[in-house]
């Protein structure tokens, strides 16, 4: 009996607003414990919530970017439960009328076919306080209490862990590109829980779902879901029933374990939040927000593939940093050499940015300058290696390629006679490579080419050097 894996993902995303969801306390990371608190987020007697407009904007923005329809009549509800990380012992969230619903993210299934993973809903809620468990007791830091979150709930359309990671990756990139969150799983600004169930292949009925928590990385997601699938199959095959429960992924033991329920009975007693007003969204507001959304990453990918002949893989790498994608596009357009543009940006430029901790916005040169460099190389006036040296200097001093070429006398030597002279000299001074080559060491040719290039300080046209060295070596 073959069992199909059914996955639904619930993703909590921390929004990058300046203040909390219901009060004006700062959301800035760090800070002394309990230094960003007030009567509202501490739930002092008599405090009342004040909803942050930016959160509504960001939620609508996310909904639009994820193809959702926006609920024009929305409101907040209370979710009642007692827990030390919950100051009011209720959370103000959205139960009945989430702000967004019925969206989707397109992924590729295992056969490479496009498939839409439905998004059931996106709603706004608030984060809980941070608990630090020690032997002396559990310490509570309320700085995080009240930080705005959106919860993105997918439909149970996912069938493999591959689809799950693809969905999550795309969700991350899309939300990051519209500026609503930095989506860092490691930092906790993107948290993913999974609802896993199995059913006999071909069956339409859904099996009992198990919630999996504590999945803190993409790797963990894959391992946890694979484990849970096998666990459930094994259980069913040995006649056991799957219990609807919450399980925790244990990184060290590589298994899922039953978590003791936070609230014995999950009876949240949802009811409308009477301290806040109804949220009625006008069409104008939605349109205004829609206008602020730039080209979305995966639309950009499609367009790059079409317009610039970039491979899907390369395009998907570019959109991980929208600044890089823009830089690439400008360069590709003006230079008409998208491949070169891509290679320079993802190659030397990325390397240098990492080494020197410089962000794209702080680069000392512009796309036009890279275009200029590419043109020099394309025309044969300089080699790629020289190009690297020029880029390195542009990085540091910000000069233009023409200036640097002039200053350092980089123009490529394409004179066959001159190059031949140099080759002969180098061969004379270094007889060993030819010997090795004759003795069957084919790699010695490369070594010789390297010596020649070094002698010419990289200025010799590498193709010509290659041809001539080959000719000389094969002469005798």
């Amino acid at each position: 009996m073959e069992y199909e894996l059914v996955i639904g993902l619930e993703v909590h995303v921390e929004l990058s607003t300046k203040t909390k969801m219901y009060c004006g306390c700062s959301t800035e990371f760090g800070g002394e414990p309990n230094s960003h608190v007030c009567p509202i987020c501490l739930a002092l007697p008599g405090a009342l919530p004040r909803i942050n407009k930016k959160v509504i904007e960001y939620t609508i923005k996310s909904g639009i970017a994820l193809n959702c329809s926006i609920n024009k009549k929305s409101r907040m509800d209370r979710k009642n439960y007692f827990y030390p990380d919950c100051p009011k012992n209720y959370q103000i969230t959205q139960h009945r009328f989430p702000l967004c619903r019925d969206g989707y993210i397109e992924v590729e299934n295992s056969e490479g076919e496009k498939k839409k993973i439905g998004i059931e809903r996106i709603h706004m809620e608030e984060d809980a306080a941070k608990l630090i468990h020690t032997k002396a007791g559990t310490l509570i830091n309320y700085n995080r209490a009240g930080v705005p979150l959106i919860e993105v709930v997918s439909k149970p359309d996912i069938r493999t862990t591959g689809e799950a990671t693809c969905y999550l990756q795309k969700l991350k990139n899309i939300l990051r590109s519209i500026g609503v969150s930095n989506c860092k799983m490691e930092q906790g600004s993107l948290r993913c829980d999974g609802n896993i169930s199995i059913r006999p292949k071909g069956s339409k009925k859904f099996g009992v779902k198990v919630e999996i928590k504590n999945v803190n990385s993409f790797k963990a997601l894959e391992k946890a879901f694979e484990y849970e699938y096998l666990r459930q199959v094994k259980a069913v095959e040995s006649g056991e029933k799957i219990i609807q429960e919450t399980r925790r992924w244990n990184e060290c033991k590589n298994k899922t374990e039953v978590m003791r329920a936070k609230e014995q009975a999950r009876d949240y007693r949802y009811f409308p939040e009477g301290d806040l007003t109804a949220i009625n969204i006008s069409n104008e507001w939605i349109e205004d927000i829609r206008k602020t959304i730039p080209e979305l990453p995966y639309d950009k990918v499609e367009r790059f593939i079409k317009e610039y002949n970039v491979s899907k893989h390369d395009a998907e790498v570019l959109i991980l940093n929208m600044g890089a994608a823009d830089f690439f596009e400008e360069t590709a357009k003006l230079s008409r050499n998208p491949k070169a543009a891509f290679n320079w940006i993802m190659g030397d430029i990325s390397r240098l940015m990492n080494e020197k901790s410089v962000s794209l916005s702080k680069l000392k040169f512009k796309p036009e300058d890279l275009v200029s460099l590419i043109k020099f190389i394309d025309s044969g006036m300089i080699s790629n290696n020289i190009g690297t040296e020029i880029i390195e200097e542009m990085f540091v001093s910000g000069g233009k390629p023409e200036e640097i070429i002039e200053k350092r006398n980089f123009l490529q030597n394409s004179s066959e006679d001159e190059i031949l002279q140099i080759i002969k000299k180098v061969m004379k001074d270094n007889p060993k490579p030819l010997e090795d080559y004759k003795n069957g060491k084919k790699r010695a040719i490369k070594f010789m080419i390297g010596l020649v290039m070094k002698k010419t300080k990289g200025k010799a046209n590498p193709k010509i050097v290659n041809d001539l060295v080959n000719r000389e070596f094969n002469k005798n």
Partner: protein, 95 residues
């Protein structure tokens, strides 16, 4: 509508309240009495009627995303039953 003892215990769990035998009886009696009143509501036909949450129509009250001053830590700790430096402390939470 007779409130059952198990139901009462379940609700007490949710509300984080404990009762002795006598108090339990009292609560059940009170609940029963109240529910008799509630049943009156069933005399009214409310098909198609909208719910009223706030008695005066209110919509779209929001706050701008501007940082406001937070409270002083001392003010918080002064009222706390137990604290360790700047943290509030409770008995260790074990899942």
């Amino acid at each position: 509508m007779r409130v059952k003892k198990e139901e009462m215990k379940y609700v007490a769990q949710l509300a984080k309240l404990e009762f002795n035998e006598e108090e339990e009886k009292e609560v059940i009696e009170e609940l029963d009495r109240m529910f008799k009143y509630m049943e009156n509501l069933n005399e009214l036909n409310t098909d198609g009627v909208n719910i009223t949450i706030n008695p005066y129509c209110m919509e779209n009250k929001f706050r701008e995303d501007t940082v406001e001053e937070s409270m002083d830590i001392k003010e918080i700790l002064d009222n706390s039953p137990q604290n360790l430096k700047e943290y509030i402390v409770v008995p260790q939470v074990i899942e």
